[in-house]
Every structure is written in structure tokens, then in C-alpha cells.
Subunit: 282 residues, 2 copies
């Protein structure tokens, strides 16, 4: 395991942690201030959402690098399956690949979407997903972008995901058989999985993202009650060991949706807390 | 697969489906009316919660049998692990075993409780759980009662369960190695599990309960938004096949927590709908 007792260069901020779902960032900070404050706290990377980027991808990417950091990811493609899939999913996916390339990141997250209409369970949906991923994988590879399939906590089955475990995501990667496909391992979604270590080992170099937060003992909301690292019950050190033992050496991206707590805190306090917790409990 | 096109004798009602969490049953029905209406709709069994039974276990059990049905289960032991475990868990568990025996049922459901204080993840908690189950298993066996470990949807990790899959539950059964331990397979909790069929096969005769409802595509609440069979995305026929192929031939128990829909409907309509859906989509 790497020693992060002082070094936070692997630490990345997913901007959702500052409450981008509200109007602006937590305290109305502009993007530039978020970037500079991350850099001042020693973060090595930052992950954006498409809605923040607009048509400024190249400028924002350069701004991040000028601050001494990397753009370590972009969230995310549209849903590729399920009733929430947009009609224009193909063009929108290619557009999100373009944006990732323009930002200068190699990782574009995929949340798959839920169960296909007129089907039950996830088996048929995963077949459709594999077909659609195959249709965009060459384009991603041409742009130097890998698609990080993110398995979600099973409570998001139905309308948000057909992948519940790292093993599920790996199976779809293998169905498609394209190097552009990888997997994002998010503590919130997989902390409970007894087979996590074995699945990560099997996934190996397919793991191209690692997301940090914590699962609060008394989670009160399905979407917006994620915990700060150390405040919950996830075995963060064991999960990181599973991911890094499998060969992952990329960013540790902090992504905390927390409408009642962290989204109400001042961004500099949130960033300082993240850096402190990263050094002590992750 | 059994043919239930007309036969509903395997169908059992978990009384929670009629909104026992509100004051009384849905329309203020007394217990006797629930029993008789289940019988009139062809149900073969009924499952109670301890709070409904009080000190009338023998009378209620006899009342059910007089109506031509069986008491097919009792919900449930107290939490055995986690911060929600009562100090008196041992005596309370033995008391719930007594109640099950007095009702004349062979199945007592166990929801384990969440992660043990001062620990992370579920590994340590499962060891503690196994020790505590070992302490009550002989007593259960002496009363002719089996303890049905119920894996819960991972969204209940932290404060309600340390078992997220049938495989998790089987592993704990094998850690204890006592015939009194079994597993309850609930559609709501396991529908998403890609390994379900293999896990059920491995569990074999350990499967002593099968619970029906459905996972709604857009589940809106962590606790009280379960769907009626056929209204969601779970592959009910595949799950029943997995359970019955493993050797299970017991009751199909309908357990629907639905505060906004089914708990507001008239009990006779709920029971008729269940019987109809059981014949057509389960």
C-alpha cells in the first residue's frame, strides 16, 4: 500500500462533493477558485461533470494543469440502457468522449442506466449494454479515452444501473472484449461485497477509477446522504488494498453527495477535511 | 416449477403487507378477519410479527389451523449484532423461539443487525454473529424451530444487516455448522444478484423461506416502497426457479411494505390482487 501519510498527490476531487447539484458550488465559488483551492490543499487531480464544462473543455483542462493538477476524469456518459436512456444516446456518448479528450482526461465514467423496457432482471439488459458499448469503444480509443463502467449499489437497480458489482462490470467488459473498457470502483457502491477482493484481482488492469467516500451506518437517503471518509462503516483500507493489490495506481477520487452536511459546509473546510482524512483513515 | 395456475395453497401472507406498521391493519381489521379472508382467497399460510402475537401464540396458531391454513413463519428475532442489538438479545431470541414453537411454526426469521461498533465492513461482524447464533441454535432445534437468516439488500448494510447475499448467509450457516440454521430468500433483497442461482444451488436444503414482492423501477424510499408482484423489474419466475431448483418446496410468502399504495388499499383488495398475481406472474 502506498504511504499517503503526507502525500496527497493521488487525491482527486469530484466536484459533486462541493454540491454542484445546488446552484453553483457550495458557497457560490467559481470553477477557478475550486481549482486553486484544491491545488493549495495538495490535491493532484480534479473530476468534473459535463454540465460544468460547456464549451470550455480545452480552457478548463489547461487551467487545471496550470495549477499543477490533472483532470483525472469526467462524469459521465448518458444512460446507455433502461427507460432513462436518451434517444440521442449514441451522439451524446460520442460528445462526452470528445469532451473528455478535450479536457485532457483518459477516463470517462459510465453509469449504465437501468433495466431495459419490457424485460425483467438484468441479464437481457447487460446484453444490450454490451452491444451499445461495442458501438462506441473504437471512438473512445481513438480519442485516448477509456470508459469506466461503474457498478452501483444494488439500491440503484431498476432505473440507474444494471451493474451491481465489480464482477458484473468485469463480465460486461469481457463480453465486449475491447481495451477501451474499464471499471470504476466506488466505496459507496461496493463496500458491502464479500467478493470484492477476488473481483478486483480478476479485474486487474481493467480498474481505472477508485472513488472514495463512506457508507454511513444510518444512511437516511438513497441519493444524497454519503459520508466523509472515516464517518461510516466501510473498511476503507481493505478496499484500497483490494484495488491497489489488483494493480491500480491511479487517483483516489473523493465523491460525496451530502445535501444536509457537506454541501452546506464551506468548500475550503470540505477540502481541508478531505485532505486530512485521506492522510489518516484511507 | 410447480403449476400454480389455480392452486394458491403455497401462498402465504406476511401480515406486514396489510400495513401492520400503521395503527392496526389497513382498514382496522382484527386478526381473525385477516385469517379468514386469507383462507377465503385460498392462501395456505400466514406469517406474523411478534408484536401482533403478545401472549396469545397458542390460540392464534390454533385459529389459523382451524381456518385450514398453517403458520408458515414468525418475524423475527431481535438484532443479534450491530449497535441496534438489545442488551437482552439472548433472552429475547429465546423468547421469540418460544413464540414460534407456540404458534406451531418451524421458521423464525433472523434479520441480523448491522456492523458491530468499533469495527468496519462486515467480516468481524459475521464472526460475532456466528458465535451468537451458535449460542441459540440448540435451543431452537429443541423447540423444532429453524432460524432463517435473511440476507438484505445492501442498502440495509450498516444498521440492519451484515448479510447482503444468499452466499453471505450460507457462509455464516457453514461457520456455525448447525442444522437449525437456514436461509430466507427474499425477492426484494436479492433480485439483482448475478450469482443468485449458483448460491441457491449451493444453499440447497438450507433454504427455508421464500419471500415475494417486486422491486419497483423507480423505488422512492429505502423502506416502504416495495412493489406488488408484476409491477417491478425483478425476474420473479427466474428467482422462483432458482429457489425451487435448489429443492425448496415451502411457502411463497408475500411481504410488501408499501406505505403509499398497498397499505392504503382495502385488505380484501390487496389479498385478491396477491392471489391473482401469484397465479399469473410469479
Amino acid at each position: 500500500m502506498r504511504d499517503f501519510s503526507e502525500d496527497t498527490s493521488a487525491l482527486a476531487l469530484n466536484t459533486a462533493t462541493l454540491g454542484h447539484n445546488l446552484d453553483g458550488y457550495g458557497a457560490g465559488w467559481p470553477l477557478e477558485r475550486v481549482i486553486d483551492t484544491c491545488a493549495s490543499h495538495g490535491f493532484g487531480g480534479i473530476v468534473f461533470w459535463r454540465r460544468e464544462i460547456g464549451t470550455n473543455a480545452i480552457e478548463i483542462g489547461n487551467r487545471v494543469r496550470a495549477a499543477g493538477m490533472h483532470v483525472t476524469g469526467l462524469c459521465r456518459t448518458p444512460y446507455l440502457v433502461g427507460s432513462g436512456r436518451p434517444d440521442a444516446w449514441f451522439d451524446e456518448t460520442r460528445g462526452s468522449i470528445d469532451m473528455a479528450a478535450a479536457l485532457g482526461t483518459t477516463v470517462l465514467t459510465v453509469v449504465t442506466g437501468g433495466t431495459e423496457p419490457e424485460t425483467k432482471g438484468t441479464i437481457e439488459t447487460k446484453k444490450v449494454l454490451a452491444e451499445r458499448l461495442a458501438r462506441v469503444s473504437d471512438y473512445a480509443a481513438a480519442g485516448g479515452v477509456r470508459l469506466a463502467l461503474e457498478p452501483l449499489n444494488p439500491m440503484y437497480g431498476g432505473n440507474r444501473t444494471c451493474l451491481m458489482t465489480v464482477r458484473d462490470a468485469l463480465n460486461v467488459c469481457e463480453m465486449v472484449g475491447h481495451d477501451a473498457l474499464g471499471i470504476a470502483v466506488d466505496v459507496y457502491h461496493v463496500w458491502w461485497d464479500s467478493n470484492l477482493k477476488e473481483s478486483c484481482k480478476a479485474a486487474g488492469s481493467r480498474i481505472i477509477g477508485y472513488h472514495l467516500c463512506d457508507w454511513l451506518e444510518n444512511t437516511s437517503d438513497m441519493l444524497l446522504d454519503r459520508g466523509m471518509m472515516g464517518d461510516g462503516v466501510a473498511d476503507l483500507k481493505a478496499i484500497r488494498d483490494a484495488v491497489e493489490s489488483a494493480g491500480y495506481a491511479g487517483a483516489c477520487e473523493v465523491e460525496i453527495f451530502s445535501s444536509d452536511r457537506w454541501w452546506k459546509a464551506r468548500p475550503d473546510r470540505v477540502l481541508r477535511t478531505i485532505a486530512d482524512r485521506f492522510k489518516t483513515v484511507c
